[in-house]
Structures are given as structure tokens and as C-alpha cells.
Subunit: 367 residues, 2 copies
């Protein structure tokens, strides 16, 4: 039962290696969840989340569960039974949105796209004359594709725009207010450079005003969570659940790290690392999967060469170099690799390391 | 925005100070959530959870959110719309069960008790002739009372027995299988001595066989989570959500610590610390709140003397001694204190420290 503490280069689709500041914060003395010092940390965390979300929304907070629970929180709070929800599906997480929305009693209109392509805004807004919600994934973790959320915001009409920013927040620009995002959620373990366990969440007044009065989820009920984080409901906190204090302290430290560096600089770092990786992969003779011009810098998808066993390469990388890359998602499980250079890993040296190790792995499996 | 790292004696109703092993594990290198090393940690965590739950249930796992989400997971997976759910309400968490069950469409039959009293098994089983579920809290965190779950198990008939063990698991005996518990959930931040963020969960075959095929919660759907932890669905894992790997590693270390010490010894330690505290409080002239003979050793409730301002005492303890105790819950917010000696804090020295500091605080506020 002894744990062997092997170090890992986490270059898959997440979790990524955390910023050192975020890891260190996990070991700080625990605080009570109602301790004045903790409430300050929570307030500052929400304030810093507003900066990375590009929003002034009062209701911006870390949901106390992983990114997938953020998705659920988004839908259960705004989807009323019978509501029409148009979902742009261009990967696994769009598919998941359909499942989650249907469990809220939505009439789901899925607008299917080929995987690897960005969301076609015209098709999405033409799919229904008056949807209650239009939902889309900003950065599809399953395909490495970025979609134009600002264009969806312009075209959404009266619908609420619900956006998955799990793999974009803290890595590329997210401007929720400017883009017209009404509800957004993310995860901590990708570009924010914090361990998985929290879902940064934001909802504006427009969406909150149309919310479900008593959502089917008590745990994710934003009406109750407003009192939990304070601010939204004025002074004084109401007990809702025990905050995951260590994870919140870690997110606080990770956000502080990012904002100290500066968002523009952080984005530039992701951009540069992704470019080095993607150029290098093509120089190795590999073919990228995501449509050109719509590739995420932080998450690169690459086709597995026909003469190579995907799993053998990944196993070799992990065992020989302690380096994790991801397989593909869904139908592409064995034919695509996903390589993330996110958060603390968004660095030129990390890009060069992946390229060198992958070259070695390909030579190894090809014998 | 600088964090001051003040140390705290966390002697409230939770979180408690974590076992040092659990804190240290938070700082270990992160692993990918599908890394073979992490899957081993997850398997071992589930195996150790079976030991502390007193169960052989295959489906025993840490839900990726706090204890309150464990409550929600319990209800959404077994309560079908229209089901009769009898809830024994003898404190805040029994009340919450009614709210959560009603959001699942249950016909809730609440059996109200005076706060501070244990569950009256005869009244609970007489409340309805054929409930689908009988729900009760083993250790009421709001009142410091323990109830006889084994007696409920004997009397439950065909109903499923759903039990909240948030404040009991790892501190006093929990024998889920022997007692006839069909579904149970807990938290990590009390007697298990780990930071808040996970909900140890167990469900037996009987309850799983009656489950809701497609629960309203995707995140907490046990049909999907079986593949996530493996075991239940045979070899091979299916991706559901990204496991909160740091918190799981911490729970793993906390459980290892507890089982190395031995459950019997851990329980004896909680018993002794609670006895020293409760005897000492009475020697200070204070009156305990929970009914005699039904007091939890790990969480003690005490009446605030009439001549003393509850908040002033708590503030003094925190500011002068870095020592946190809890206020009361619900109607007892200002008239009861809650003092937890849980997990790593279940020690005679901690009991003596609370007593000494409380005596000092009372002298201070009485001037």
C-alpha cells in the first residue's frame, strides 16, 4: 500500500502540473470555512476570477466540485422543464451538454458538427427561432478546437448564452461581458494551473433573473450559493456547505500567480508554447487534427501515424520519460493524441521536451 | 492581497485540523487521473473506505465534492418521483434531507424530534406503512447527538435505509453492513482528518438494484460513476469526470494513517478526548446540550451561559488563542456552542487546551 511518488510531466488534456504557488498553498494551515481569514481568501478569489473571466458579474465563484459539476450547475439553474436548448456539438463536451440539459427536462436541439471543426454560428442560430438557451464549448478539450464565442454573443437574440470555458480560462482570452456570455463555467486543472476539484463559475444578472426558482440540485442552487460566497446577498454569510478550503486557497494562489504575471503575458506564453509544439510536430512529419486557423495553442491534437500503435507510444512516454499525453476522445480514442501545454506547462522548454520525447518514442515503437 | 498564514486550532464542527500525513499528501507530485499510479491510489482508497464503512459494497467511493453533495448523490440515485421518503429530523441535516428529497420529487414524511434528542426509531417506522426510503442522520452535526442506526436497520422493513455519517465516519463505530445501511455518505473534514472536498459514499446491491436509471444529476449518476472508479463494472475505466487527484491522494494518506493506528484505537481516542472535554465543561459549571447517554464524543454541544455573549467568546478565542469553536445551528445559533475534537484533534491535550482557553475566555468576557 506504499505510494511511490513518481514525478510526472502532465502534458495530456488535464490535469496539468500546477503552478508551484498553487501546490504550496495546499500545505498551508487549514482555516475554518467561516474564519474571517478564509472569507477574505474567498472574496479575493472571486474578485480574481472576475478578472480572468473578463466580467463584473457579482455571482462569480468557485463551485465546490470539478468542471463537469460546473456544467451541471450552469444547466440546472437556468433550464426550466420544456425549455428549448440549442447545443452546438463539435466534440465530446458538446455531447455531454445535451445529456445534462435533457436531465433538466430541456427540449434539446443538437447542432452537430464534424469533430475538429469550430462551431458554425449561422447554423447554430438558425436551428431554432426562439431557444431559451444557446450552449457552446469555447475550447473543445476533445478536439483542440477554439470557437468564436463573441460571434455567438452577437447572434444569440433573446437566448441566454451558456459557455464551457474549461480549457480556455487562464490560457487564452475569455471576455465574458464583452462577448455576451450569460453563464460560464471552467475547471481549475487546465490553464489555471491548479489541481482539479473546483469549477470557476459566472452568471450575469440577465441569466440570474431567469433562473429556476428551486433547481433540482440543492448543492448547485445558485440562489443558496449567493449567500455562501457573500457579496451577492449583501453583508453576512449564510451556511450552505463546508467550503473545500484547501482547494480554494490553492486556487487563490494560482490566480494570484497568473495576475501577477499579467493575463496578456500568460496568453502570450500559451500562444508561443503551442506554436513551437505545433510547428515541431509538423516538422516530425505528423499531421495535426484540428482545423487550421481554429487550433488551440494550449491543447494540440495530432493524428497517430498509421504505422504506430497509439497506446504503445503513450505507455513508452509514461514509463520511460514520466511524460503523459492523452489519447483521443470518442471515436478518435486510438487515432488521435492530445497534448496539453497548459498553465505552468505553457513554456518553450516543455514544448521542446514533448517533441524530443515523442521523437524518441516513435523511433522506439517503429523499432 | 497577501495571505497571512495564521495557524488555527480547528475545534469547531469541521473542518478539523488534518492528519499531518493527509496534509503532506496534498503536496506530492500531481498524477494524471488515468495514470496507472493514480488508479492504484483510487483502488486502495476505495478499499480503505470499505474498512471504515464496515462494508463489502463494491460501490464504495469518494464522490468528487463535499459531504453535502454526498447527501444529494444518495437521494438522486434512489428516489423516484412520487416515492415516499420518511426522514427522521432531529437537527439541521435531517431538515436538509427533506429539502434534497423533495427536489427529487419525493413525497417527504418528516418525523420531527426536539433538537438535542436522538431519533425515536418506533415513531420513524410508524410514520408510514411502506416508505421507499427511510433516512436518518447517524451523528447530528447540529446538535452533537448520536442515533441508533442499527435499530433502524432492524425495523426498516422493505425500505432502503439511507444514512448520513458525515460526523461519525472515522470517529465512532460505523458498521454499514451489520446495521443494514443501504446507502451512506460522509465527509472528509471531520473525523477522517482530511481537508473538506470529498464525500465518501457507499451503496449496496439492494439499493443499486432499485436505483433511478437516469438520475436528474449527471455528475452524481452512480451508474456512470461505477466505471469511473473501476471494479464495479469490471476491468477498464471509463472517463466520467477528472478526478480531484490531489484530494484523493490526501484522503488515501488520511485513511492509511487511521488504519495503521487501528480503528478500535482511533475510536477509543475520540471517546477519551470527548469524555475529558465533557467532564471538564461540567466542572466549569457549563451545561451540555445533547441528551445524556446520546452524546457524541467527537462533537460536544454546550449551552452558552445566560450572562455571556456567545459571539464575544468565540471572537476572543479566535483572536487571542487562534482557537475556533462553532456557534449553534438554526434556532440555537447564539445559545449553543459546538466543540469538535475530531480526527487528528481527538487527543487529551486538545481537550485540555479547549478547556483552558474557554475558561480564560469566560473570565475575560465576564470582566
Amino acid at each position: 500500500m506504499q505510494r511511490v511518488n513518481r514525478d510526472r510531466h502532465l502534458f495530456g488534456p488535464g490535469p496539468s502540473n500546477a503552478y508551484p504557488e498553487a501546490t504550496a498553498a495546499l500545505g498551508l494551515p487549514l482555516l475554518g470555512h467561516l474564519d474571517p481569514d478564509f472569507l477574505t481568501i474567498m472574496d479575493q478569489t472571486c474578485a480574481m476570477l472576475r478578472e480572468v473571466w473578463g466580467t463584473t458579474n457579482t455571482r462569480t465563484l468557485p463551485i465546490s466540485a470539478t468542471g463537469s459539476a460546473g456544467m451541471e450547475a450552469a444547466f440546472v439553474n437556468v433550464v426550466h422543464p420544456g425549455d428549448v436548448v440549442v447545443v452546438a456539438v463539435n466534440g465530446l463536451f458538446g455531447q455531454r451538454m445535451c445529456d445534462v440539459a435533457s436531465r433538466c427536462g430541456a427540449e434539446v436541439v443538437a447542432v452537430e458538427h464534424d469533430w475538429g471543426q469550430p462551431v458554425d454560428v449561422e447554423r447554430v442560430v438558425a436551428a431554432h427561432p426562439a431557444p431559451a438557451v444557446i450552449a457552446a464549448v469555447h475550447a473543445e478539450t476533445s478536439t483542440g478546437v477554439v470557437s468564436d464565442i463573441a460571434a455567438l454573443g452577437v447572434a444569440k437574440g433573446d437566448a441566454l448564452l451558456l459557455v464551457d470555458a474549461v480549457t480556455s480560462l487562464g490560457g487564452i482570452e475569455v471576455s465574458a461581458d464583452e462577448w455576451g456570455v450569460d453563464i460560464g463555467y471552467a475547471g481549475t486543472q487546465k490553464c489555471l494551473g491548479v489541481a482539479p476539484g473546483l469549477a470557476p463559475f459566472t452568471i450575469n444578472e440577465r441569466a440570474f433573473g431567469r433562473r429556476v426558482e428551486k433547481p433540482q440540485s440543492w448543492y448547485l442552487d445558485l440562489g443558496l450559493l449567493g449567500g455562501y460566497v457573500g457579496g451577492a446577498s449583501g453583508p453576512g454569510r449564510t451556511y450552505h456547505h463546508t467550503a473545500p478550503v484547501a482547494m480554494v486557497a490553492s486556487l487563490h494562489a494560482g490566480l494570484r500567480r497568473i495576475l501577477d504575471e499579467g493575463l496578456e503575458q500568460v496568453f502570450a506564453r500559451h500562444e508561443e508554447a503551442g506554436r513551437i509544439l505545433q510547428d515541431g510536430l509538423e516538422e516530425l512529419g505528423l499531421e495535426l487534427f484540428a482545423a487550421k486557423g481554429h487550433r488551440l495553442p494550449e491543447l494540440t491534437t495530432v493524428k497517430v501515424p498509421d504505422d504506430v500503435d497509439s497506446a504503445a507510444v503513450r505507455r513508452y512516454l509514461l514509463e520511460r520519460h514520466g511524460l503523459e499525453i492523452g489519447g483521443g476522445a470518442g471515436a478518435y480514442a486510438a487515432t488521435v493524441w492530445r497534448i496539453g501545454l497548459m498553465g505552468h506547462n505553457a513554456r518553450p522548454d516543455a514544448a521542446l521536451l514533448v517533441l524530443a520525447c515523442l521523437e524518441d518514442a516513435l523511433a522506439h515503437v517503429r523499432g
